[in-house]
């Protein structure tokens, strides 16, 4: 049983359960496609830990890697989540955490960065995840 945000973030089993409940989001992704989640407070530190989802042959799987700056990050998408976002993801883990992520992105509690271009992301099979998370894909200027 995880009780703090920190424990929740490091609860690999808990995250895996969340991913396993929505396999259809990741079906089209190529092996190796990866998304990182970094707690906001670790962004400035050099030795932060990043949660990574990496697409395997059959499913999306959970890993942890050190975060040492944008330049050294190999993930395709990077989410920076503040405590409010992590707390709400924690509390909604049993309901619809992907919808919650979308809400938190919209509220600005999760910031995201795309480390690949539009065509690369499409080729890697990200369309469904981008749609589920409500990330603006084509728009520029509003």
């Amino acid at each position: 049983m995880v009780s703090t945000i920190g424990e929740m973030f490091l609860d690999a089993q808990g995250w895996q359960t969340i991913l396993d409940r929505r396999p259809e989001i990741f079906t089209d992704m190529l092996q190796g496609a990866s998304l990182g989640i970094l707690p906001k407070k670790e962004l400035e530190s050099t030795g932060g830990t990043m949660l990574i989802w990496i697409k395997q042959v059959d499913k999306m799987a959970v890993f942890y890697r050190p975060f040492t700056g944008f330049q050294n990050t190999s993930v395709d998408l990077l989410m920076i989540a503040d405590d409010v976002a992590l707390e709400s993801l924690h509390s909604k883990a049993q309901e619809n955490p992907f919808y919650e992520m979308r809400e938190q992105i919209r509220n600005g509690n999760i910031l995201y960065y795309v480390m690949k271009t539009k065509n690369e992301l499409l080729d890697l099979g990200y369309e469904e995840l981008i749609d589920v998370l409500g990330i603006p894909f084509l728009g520029a200027c509003r």
Binding site: M115, T117, K118, D131, G134, L138, G139, A140, C141
Partner: protein, 604 residues
């Protein structure tokens, strides 16, 4: 054409200053890194001067949004993109910063050599200058980063270098954000923006243009959901802060009367205008001659920029001739053979065709079976939650033009083969601009009468809608109705057969609908279709075969759309020339209706 708009100062589109194209932000952007470009710039400066205006050349290095032909872009620091359209960043070294400053200065000198009176640099929407100024993208630890003073160093160096290169007789204008709208990303606060503006003033710029937003800002800055005049407060603040520097402003301020009043009230000194002039190049002349009711206006639809950022030349929904000004096929020229034309359908496609054809000397009569002009735009305008007045003013413009041009309009007249037989040989040309309907043959027959209604009838207020509503179709029509009805307090569920809603909405507007749907808590069932419209509701089945019952007093059929093409065959042998335009050909939207109507009108 642009030189003839009547503007006092004309700023030519931003040119990128570097030979590699790191500063290039979009397809066909002009460049100014070499003397080989001088002849074209001389020509443009000449056109502007011939029309009595001051000629300014903008130098635009797009920074974070640049390098479109390269695999990367350059920035003060590596801050990855939030929009996948753009290239991944590389941090610039101090030597590169020096080189960029020199390139800007040389480009400015070249512009003056070409005959321009002055130059402008721009941080509009998050370009290089904005990247240095903003703490979102500038995370440097050297003298170019950190404090506002340091972040503004690049701007000051640009100002000094350009002023020196072009000399004191030639003004330098700088476009600076009054607000970045980048708070969630840790961008500059408004106070920091104004500190930077003050810094630019102190560094000796001759005029400041106040802009709003970044391309990746999560909220609207120039879209049609921003009411005209919304951002004036930023110009007012700039004027108060810098009373001795001319302030120019015009972001989402499409109305010349309003702008005139703002200047009279001392809010800012010059009205700056871009899209309204693309939509109506005659805007100033019409304003001066008190003919503004004859002016088309910018709908803020963003089709222009949507195209630019899809690597296509920009166009304007309301001005089909934009970008084609030198092609006779797009211009209104006197018709060699004057014809009698009947246009069936008083929507935008039919009316555009009527206006163009009448101006060419043809004798035009419009028929429509409903009791007012405007076609499906009337319904859109009624339910649009972004800016009803804007769409309604398009219809008023049409009414004015039909009246002024003396186009005959027969409303409440259903044009059918019987009527056609009765007027045989009265017309040389018939144009079918009858729009599209909904293909109800694929929707289950309702078990109760009156439950299933057509989107067009709801939109035009011809039917009553109950409290619980199911909208079949999550395209732009279904969404517009669903949003409007929800705002009226109805409980709405959208049923869409595709995986996603808003499939037929332009890229720059999709986000708007999906965030409204979320905000208004409109329920959407995608990959779903109705299998039974029974008493009290609709049974819906999804792609997995799961059935859901959705309670509904009213079911609105908004999709699939079907062009109204029955009359094409019926009229084939009843008139010499028979044409079709707009949704009657393929259901799409306002842009295609306006463009096709106009193009046919200038050709018949």
């Amino acid at each position: 054409m642009i030189a003839g708009t009547g503007c006092g100062i004309i700023t030519n589109q931003g040119a990128y200053p570097d030979p590699l194209g790191e500063g290039k932000s979009y397809f066909r952007q002009i460049a100014l890194f070499d003397d080989k470009f001088l002849p074209q710039f001389e020509q443009i400066a000449g056109y502007i001067h011939d029309n009595g205006a001051v000629a300014i050349q903008q130098i635009l290095h797009a920074g974070r949004y640049g390098g479109i032909d390269l695999g990367y872009c350059v920035q003060p620091s590596v801050v990855p993109q939030t929009l996948p359209h753009f290239r991944q960043p590389r941090e610039v070294s101090k030597e590169q910063i020096k080189a960029m400053v020199t390139q800007h200065a040389e480009a400015a000198k070249r512009a003056i050599k070409a005959g321009f009176d002055g130059t402008e640099i721009t941080s509009f929407m998050g370009y290089l200058l904005a990247n240095f100024n903003s703490k979102f993208t500038n995370r440097r630890t050297d003298e170019y980063g950190g404090s506002v003073e340091n972040r503004g160093r690049f701007m000051r160096e640009l100002i000094y270098a350009i002023k020196e290169a072009q000399g004191d007789d030639h003004p330098l204008i700088v476009r600076l954000n009054g607000a970045e709208l980048m708070d969630v990303h840790g961008g500059n606060t408004e106070d920091e923006c104004f500190e930077l503006m003050k810094m630019a003033g102190d560094a000796g710029v001759d005029m400041i243009s106040v802009t709003v937003g970044w391309q990746e800002a999560p909220e609207s800055s120039i879209g049609r959901d921003v009411p005209p005049g919304h951002w004036n407060r930023l110009a007012i603040r700039a004027k108060k802060l810098l009373p001795n520097i001319p302030i120019t402003f015009g972001v989402r301020l499409p109305n010349p009367v309003m702008a005139n009043q703002n200047i009279a009230d001392g809010e800012f000194d010059y009205w700056e205008v871009c899209r309204p002039m693309l939509a109506e190049p005659e805007l100033l002349h019409k304003a001066a001659e008190d003919r503004l009711d004859e002016a088309k206006h910018c709908l803020g639809c963003m089709n222009c920029l949507a195209r630019l950022f899809r690597d296509l030349p920009y166009l304007c929904t309301n001005n089909p001739a934009l970008g084609h000004e030198v092609e006779p096929e797009y211009l209104i020229t006197p018709a060699v053979v004057k014809k009698k034309i009947m246009i069936i359908g008083a929507g935008p496609a039919g009316i555009e065709c009527a206006i163009a054809a009448t101006k060419r000397g043809h004798d035009v009569t419009i028929y429509d079976k409903s009791d007012s002009i405007g076609g499906s735009l009337v319904g859109y305008a009624a339910y649009d939650i972004a800016n009803k007045a804007d769409l309604q003013s398009q219809i008023s413009y049409y009414q004015t033009m039909l009246n002024k041009l003396g186009v005959k309009v027969n409303l409440n007249t259903d044009v059918n083969p019987k009527l056609m037989r009765s007027i045989l040989h009265q017309y040389d040309v018939a144009v079918l601009a009858v729009g599209a309907g909904v293909d109800t043959s694929v929707i289950p027959v309702p078990e109760q009468e009156g439950v299933l209604v057509l989107a067009a009838d709801v939109a035009r207020g011809k039917v009553n809608v109950g409290q619980k509503v199911v909208v079949l179709g999550g395209g732009k029509i279904g969404l517009t109705l669903a949003e409007g009805l929800t705002q009226e307090g109805k409980e709405v569920t959208i049923v869409e057969k595709e995986k996603r809603i808003a499939g037929d909405v332009i890229p720059t507007w999709k986000w708007r609908h999906s965030s409204w749907v979320d905000q208004l808590k409109i329920k959407t069932l995608t990959l779903s279709k109705p299998i039974k419209i029974g008493v009290g509701g609709v049974t819906v089945v999804n792609d997995k075969g799961e059935e859901t019952f959705v309670e509904a007093d009213t079911v609105i059929a908004a999709s699939p759309r079907k062009p109204n093409q029955e009359l094409f065959q019926e009229f084939e042998f009843m008139v010499d020339e028979l044409h079709g335009v707009g949704d009657a050909m393929v259901p799409r939207g306002l842009l295609q209706a306006i463009h096709e109507g106009y193009r046919l009108g200038v050709r018949i």
